[in-house]
Amino acid sequence: MPDGVAASRATMSVDAHTVRRIASLARIAVTDGEVEAMVPEFNNILGWIEQLSEVDTDGVAPLAAVIPNSLRLRDDIVTDGDRRDEVLKNAPQAEHGFFAVPKVIE
């Protein structure tokens, strides 16, 4: 299936349920009112993005790096660390040298 067809099918499915699912994946709490407002906004933006489907990209490799650059390897030695207090300095809650979070019970 050409990319464009998949894209046009994709955009048709954005409803309140989808927006809630996406917000949940993004870990952002949303109210019913916010969802209602986001549905048309989402469809507007996705509809606008849709014009990409007009471009023939058959046989084109997706761009990986804008400027040719090879990934460097460095020596496998410790160059940083031993900064526990610095790392914890901005934590909303830190206890006994750890980040503290609400109890996690599954």
């Binding site: 998949a6 606008w48 084109v60 761009l63 934590a91």
Partner: protein
Amino acid sequence: MSDLTDFGVTALRDGFRKGDFSAREAADAFIGAMEAGRPLNAFLVETPDHAIAAAEEADRGRAVGELRALSGVPLGIKDLFCTAGYQTTAASHILEGFVPTYESTVTAKLFGAGAGMLGKLNLDQFAMGSSNETSAYGNVISPWRRAGDSAPIAPGGSSGGSSAAIAARLAPAATGTDTGGSIRQPAAFTGISGIKPTYGRCSRWGIVAFASSLDQAGAMARDVRDCAILLEAMSGFDAKDATSLDVAVPRWEANLSSNLNGKKVGIPKEYRVDGMPAEIEALWERGIGFLRDAGAEIVDVSLPHTRQALPAYYIIAPAEASSNLARYDGVRYGLRVLPDGANLQDMYAATRAEGFGPEVKRRILIGTYVLSAGFYDAYYTKAQKVRALIARDFEAAWASCDLLLTPTAPSAAFALGEKTADPIAMYLNDVFTVPASLAGLPAMSVPGGLDAQGLPLGLQIIGKPLDEQSVLDAGLAIEERAGFSARAETWW
């Protein structure tokens, strides 16, 4: 002595070296202007102690013959750069109170070169915006006003605090960052110069991330030479950024030349968009005349995929943002919202709901959607393929020219509130700046003139990878011929 806030980077550096004034005098002058300029809301945090300490060190250094590249020059720093010991928020509520324990590579280089910091500059939240209206700490107001009208004007975005501060003479120069036009568009809106170098020239280490394959730091200042000086101090290889380019930093300032003999400048026909205001067309024609007068040969070129650059950008940038901004979880730094009886997942969701502004949420959600199972190829892969075609368009153009000349933005600055209702109308503001960002190319905006309402208009020069020199040279050629001397009247 004339008012030191009228001095740019070159004049401050050289005047300080000659002994015309002390670094402390220069710092004090700008600190005074910064305080008087508070109605513009350009600074989120004022750091006069930093500017004064750097100035006093510069003065002590001068006494024993030690002069560094930026000794005597105070700067504004966009609040996207982490600054050790000074709050860094990216203009977001979610980072309120965050005080980095480390210094970004770019600011470390600037301070190492002797510059001091006047303060942290306001911006669009996480650099997402084109008008500085998405900041959690209020709009920046441009010092410019339409003739006979006091309606507050947008300073552009996302580096709107930087552009406003420079145009209002609250700072001689400032850092900016550019993901899709965030240096060039605000520079154009406020009648100053701004350059985004080749992707990889400036280290991204310590810059709050938005879209990592596009984010690039750059220089904003009153003129082209000042931009060259600042960019030279900011650039250079950094092992801490995997995309940093391991190439020498040219001596851009020393090599500046407005003689464009032998240079070919391409005029991309696709940038003549429908409904382009006549004033923008006229500005472009003026720019073409300037470059021809400087010795350049003007050639017509085609960049066939220009129209698709914006939609590709608005897939790629939100996709990368949704990934980068996943780190704001209320655990390690910044805001934590913990409703009664909330578990860890609830805490994440509540923290992010309260901490992020509406435009940031919009982009995270769009990004999450285009990366979600089943849609990744249709959106993200497709956009990266289109991006490859856009990069190829530029490569093909370089076969017949050395530089491209375009308007920077499709209009002069708009009034605050004029475009906030429609996200896409706001996104369209970046139509001329986004393509060069997608291709990682160096590009700069320089003032070209005023529109009929008295607001500045900018011309954009785009260059080949790593050829910032030609971009700066063409910028200088325009600057010398445009004779842009207008400045905003002080009303604040």
